[in-house]
């Protein structure tokens, strides 16, 4: 019963085809509140497509996915209200300040002005953005833009957040802020789906992971289980063993 209560993302046989190409093939995994779930795989494995389908930006070809009890096929608006996505490309409106960017997205989520103001203040503090939030975002560094994009993805305080390659291209300090933010989300009882190909980061942060290779889930479970099953000592080796096994299958 408790397990069911904590379940926020239930992906069953999710499939996405673009004409004759199957980008995501019967992907199945579950993620729960209060955890950082690792969606792992090399570049081009289908991680981003999986996220885009779950977040209803792309249509689903086959399978069933529920976000907090809402079907991604039939209740797209409700699904979108309950999830946030930090996309791989962190584009921002460069003629707007960080605050204006956030205010715009808050308005799109129909958030009241007072709540928006408080939420921006909260996120600005959490992500260490106070110094630059009122500056024009076109002048931001990559790290600053990444922080703004993170704040944008959670402005509506969703219970499920996808972070797609959030530390890619960041310096150590900016990457640490992102990681700390994910941990903070976990502490707040949110579910963070951490999509990455950087496996040592995932090993440190995630209890459960799903490994995708060529659109197929080749491993799914706790990090310890995967290491035991593949008789390896770290996630990277487990990942390589599973990928090779998947390639031979």
């Amino acid at each position: 019963m408790e397990e069911k209560k904590r379940l926020i993302l239930d992906v069953q046989n999710l499939t996405k085809r673009f004409n004759n190409f199957t980008a995501v093939d019967h992907v199945t995994f579950q993620a729960h509140r209060g955890e950082i779930f690792g969606l792992l795989g090399p570049n081009g494995a289908g991680k981003t497509t999986t996220i885009r389908v779950i977040s209803t930006v792309l249509s689903v070809t086959d399978g069933m996915t529920m976000v907090d009890g809402f079907d991604i096929r039939k209740e797209q608006e409700e699904v979108k209200k309950r999830l946030g996505v930090l996309t791989t490309d962190v584009g921002v409106y460069e003629r707007f300040s960080g605050r204006e960017n956030l205010q715009y997205f808050a308005a799109l989520y129909s958030m009241p002005k007072e709540k928006t103001k408080a939420r921006i203040a909260e996120l600005s503090g959490l992500l260490d953005m106070d110094e630059f939030i009122d500056r024009r975002s076109g002048l931001y560094s990559t790290g600053m833009k990444q922080k703004l994009a993170i704040a944008r993805s959670v402005i509506h305080d969703p219970d499920l957040v996808f972070f797609d390659e959030p530390t890619a291209g960041l310096d150590v300090l900016a990457a640490r802020t992102v990681v700390q933010f994910m941990q903070r989300m976990k502490e707040l009882g949110k579910c963070v789906v951490f999509s990455t190909h950087i496996l040592h980061e995932a090993e440190k942060l995630c209890a459960h992971v799903a490994i995708i290779h060529r659109g197929i889930v080749v491993g799914n479970g706790t990090v310890e289980t995967l290491k035991n099953d593949t008789k390896t000592s770290n996630l990277e080796d487990a990942f390589l063993a599973l990928v090779q096994k998947g390639a031979h299958a």
Partner: protein, 408 residues
Amino acid sequence: MNFRTVITVWFKEMRDTVRDRRTLMSMVVLPLFLMPALIVGLGKFSEYQVNKLETRTVTVAFENAVAAPDLVSFLKTQDKISVIEVSGALADAVKADRVDAGIVVPDGYEQTLADRTPITLTLFTHSTNQNASVVPSRLDAAISAYNQTVLTQRFAVKKIDTSILVGVSLKTSDVATDQEKSGFGLGFILPLFIVMWAITGGQYTAIDASAGEKERKTIESLLLTPVKRITIVLGKFFAVASTAMISVVVSISSMYFTMKYSGSNIFTSGTIASGSSNSGVMAFSMSIGTIAVLIGVGLLLVLLFSAIMLSISIFAKSFKEAQSYISPAYLVIILPIVIFNTLPGLKTTLWMFALPAINAILLFKEVLVGTFSTSHILVTVATLIVCSAVAIVVTTKMYERENVVLKS
């Protein structure tokens, strides 16, 4: 659909537009200053050129001048005609622009004249010499005056009054009103400017709001929000239409005030100038009704073009690519309009007012001259509304196609 969210998207796009110098330039600065620059500048330049040609002394050389001393002497006395001598072949001298015109006098000229037999003089002119464009009319007038002298002498010998040569003469009285005259001239240029600004005024906003979102990588974040595509499209569409409409209003206002108060006139045929007052300022005016129809139909035109621009721009994945799509589209729209706008003696029929964009041009012309019919207005308005609605639906469909919006 949530109209509050439509306004949120519209407001964001407008704010973005105002902060973008390129867009601001094409929306306000160009229509504000280009119209006075064209009207005043072109008018003054045209006036200067006409004056220069009219006051210019035309040079004429003769071949076999000794055969017609009277004619040569007569031309020498004419205002703004100078008889000169040139070396070499006369035709070559004219072609080399060493002289504006050459007259070849046939042998036995004096005897033929005395015999009262018609004489044909050959006139060499160089039609591609812009400065010599006034030569034929100037010499024609001079030769007519010379003929008059010859005839007067002949009639004097016979003691006949030369007035018998005139049977009937014409005195022209133009029944066109000042509005018709000014509207006729204005009808050639104002509709074109309205169409031009209806397209270019919103062009940058359309590109920035669609292809620009892709280039900046913000489109996915926008699509992740629980806002319906039609809401996003309408917000962006109204922003494009707003900027285009501002351009149209600015250009019409700028043109109106420039023509009303500058005293300049680019219509040298005398259409507007004929209505001038003693002060030298043109008696140019547009009724409130005319302005209302211009702005009303201009608005519908803006809605149509805005939807078209937006649907074209969303196909592109960058600002540059969008511009390369819009340029040919601009030509496809503007060419038929230019052709219909300049067709001489075009008789409009009702079906022409069902042709989108062309109908607006034809209606603008009628309204400016003051000869419009209600059926023309109704058909034009209905056509533009239907086409705009279809264009918005098409644009929304484009935004719903994942291979279009996520193309990168």
